[in-house]
């Protein structure tokens, strides 16, 4: 568990990460701000206080692993990886540019710290399950975390993986659901409803917990819970807000799935975030 002071510091770090996300995507002229901003607090707390990885040795065999299955949220991951020293912050503005290691969706072997190629939705949980099985075979206690989007779990492969993880009782596997309620064609509840989401996962053999995905202390507590091995895989359902931290995005959830802000919009959003940094 992180201390109150640590979480206070992290809160400021994550405001800066939000600024990085907006500036990266604006510079790229394309990308997915809404789902990056909904996921940033989850990824931030995970890397700061739970994921056992050394940024200077990101390929150590017995490391914990993080698979960003909702690959379109990768600006959030790049922001966290840069902040933690996996690579130079100077790379951030190269997102999506020709020749950049910061590809539009995660690619193994480009930016340090990327564990799996994702972006074709629905595949990451299977890969994470395989990694957790590998750790179990090698008898080390590495954990594998997999962050999924809410729309993403409409993919059938997710449920194949959920069923297999339940059968194999892989308690080194932790799923995190970024439940931001919106996808490209509309609200998740309209496009293809996923509720009752906890009951579904429980029926597949998972332990679940539901939290406010922007309450850093609640995220920290849920991740601490997920580390306790109880003979079953665990899922943290995180209720989040698409575009969290940018008022004009929060008010139009669906619009900001895959649209880059204009330079003016970015400036306005960044100024509001900077004001929060200054006010603390």
């Amino acid at each position: 568990m992180a201390t109150e002071a640590e979480l206070k510091t992290l809160e400021r770090t994550l405001i800066q990460a939000r600024i990085d996300i907006l500036e990266m995507i604006t510079a790229a002229g394309s990308g997915h701000p809404g789902g990056s901003l909904s996921a940033i607090d989850l990824i931030g707390v995970l890397y700061a206080h739970h994921l056992r990885q050394d940024p200077k040795a990101p390929s150590a065999p017995q490391r914990d692993r993080f698979v960003l299955s909702k690959g379109h949220g990768v600006p959030a991951l790049y922001a966290v990886l840069a902040e933690r020293g996996y690579f130079d912050r100077a790379l951030l503005p190269t997102l999506r540019k020709l020749g950049s290691p910061l590809q539009g969706h995660p690619v193994v072997g480009t930016a340090p710290g990327i564990e799996a190629c994702t972006g074709s939705l629905g595949q990451g949980l299977s890969v994470a399950l395989g990694m957790a099985l590998g750790a179990r075979l090698d008898a080390h206690d590495a954990r594998v975390y997999c962050l999924m989007g809410d729309g993403e779990i409409q993919e059938g492969q997710v449920w194949e993986a959920a069923m297999a993880a339940g059968k194999l009782a892989v308690d080194g596997l932790v799923g995190i659901l970024d439940f931001n309620k919106a996808q490209i064609d509309g609200l998740v509840s309209d496009v293809m409803p996923i509720e009752p989401v906890e009951a579904k996962w429980q029926s597949f053999g998972w332990l679940t917990r539901r939290i406010d995905g922007h309450d850093l202390s609640a995220i920290d507590a849920a991740l601490s819970w997920s580390r306790v091995r109880e003979g079953k895989p665990k899922l943290i359902v995180a209720d989040t807000i698409k575009g969290k931290g940018v008022s004009f995005m929060e008010s139009e959830l669906v619009k900001w799935h895959g649209v880059a802000p204009t330079q003016d919009q970015c400036t306005q959003a960044v100024a509001a975030l900077r004001a929060r940094l200054g006010g603390n």
């Binding site: 065999p61 692993r65 690619v107 193994v108 072997g109 564990e115 799996a116 190629c117 994702t118 972006g119 074709s120 595949q123 949980l125 299977s126 890969v127 994470a128 399950l129 395989g130 990694m131 957790a132 099985l133 590998g134 750790a135 075979l137 090698d138 594998v144 059938g156 492969q157 194949e160 993986a161 069923m163 297999a164 059968k167 194999l168």
Partner: protein, 312 residues
């Protein structure tokens, strides 16, 4: 002397033996372990075998995760069902560079009476288009064993295509499989028959029939579809007037495609390329030998295709 053996059987036996030498090998199957013969590994190494149920795309993804976590994951099902999970193979396996060996058995019309829905007839074409994906198809037991040993010892993503039906031995004990190289079974100057997998033994039979008609046919076995021996193929195209490719696969995109691509890119070619296989139609039910006769993949059929192409 070896006896005829299905390449899936040879695979299962070899993998079970190699499991003792390579502790990093793990095996996954999707409710077809008895058919793919991965059960032979399961019986010896149950803790390294994962029964994934009838859920092939998850199996492929889990294999990728195991591969990325330091294992060498053999992922088995019918060619039809496993290659059908193309997008998962594309992203989780090939793009991630995961150490995964995808094994597709019961390839082609050779599966027989189950019919088209169980026939992998497009898997070579699919797998060839993935950067870095190796694609191998053995023609007999000895070659199968050597390819499996190669896959056990070398990391990376690969596709192995195997038969349900028995294959006659074509190689002596001295044979050594080499990735990216053609395997010349018999020399000849009038035509070169390039064959892969199940029909290769029938190409050898066809050669004898053609000899009776005064036609001197070379038989070239192609176990390595990717990497493909472009230079070796171009050399054949420069010395014979006709290359006939023979495969139990759609004529689009498989061995015939690889040969046509290589020949068209080469200098000094004098060979016409005739691609023979399943002529872009759906398969159907029937006994394997009946289907090989219908699609002219048996000895008589291949000989007839060659004679028609030569006009003699």
């Amino acid at each position: 002397m070896q006896k005829p053996k299905a390449s899936r059987q040879a695979f299962g036996e070899a993998l079970a033996e190699l499991g003792a030498v390579h502790p990093e090998i793990v095996v996954l199957d999707a409710d077809l372990a008895k058919s793919t013969k991965s059960e032979l590994f399961m019986k010896k190494f149950p803790e390294r075998f994962f029964e994934m149920g009838i859920a092939e795309q998850n199996m492929v993804g889990v294999a990728a995760g195991l591969g990325l976590a330091g294992k060498n994951a053999f992922c088995c099902s019918f060619a039809c069902f496993v290659a059908g999970r193309f997008e998962t193979i594309k992203i989780s396996v090939a793009y991630s560079g995961a150490n995964v060996k995808i094994v597709g058995t019961h390839a082609g019309v050779g599966i027989g009476p189950d019919g088209y829905s169980q026939m992998g007839l497009e898997d070579l074409a699919l797998m060839r288009t993935l950067p870095g994906m190796q694609v191998y198809q053995p023609a007999d037991e000895l070659e199968t064993r050597q390819i499996v040993a190669h896959l056990a010892a070398n990391p990376g993503a690969a596709y192995l295509r195997l038969t349900r039906q028995e294959l006659a031995p074509l190689h002596g004990e001295g044979y050594r499989f080499t990735p990216g190289k053609l395997d010349v079974l018999a020399e000849g100057k009038d035509v070169a028959i390039f064959a892969t997998g199940g029909p290769t033994m029938h190409a050898v039979t066809a050669r004898a029939e053609l000899a009776k008609a005064g036609i001197d046919a070379a038989v070239v076995n192609v176990p390595s579809i990717k990497p493909f021996d472009d230079a070796g193929t171009q050399a054949w195209a420069a010395k014979v007037p006709l290359i006939v490719t023979v495969e139990d696969h759609n004529v689009l995109g498989g061995l015939g495609g690889a040969v046509a691509e290589a020949v068209s890119a080469g200098h000094g070619s004098k060979a016409r390329v005739v691609r023979h296989g399943i002529p872009d139609v759906f398969g159907e039910s029937g006994e394997p030998d009946e289907l090989y006769a219908k699609f002219k993949l048996d000895g008589a059929g291949i000989a007839a295709v060659v004679r028609e192409a030569l006009g003699r």
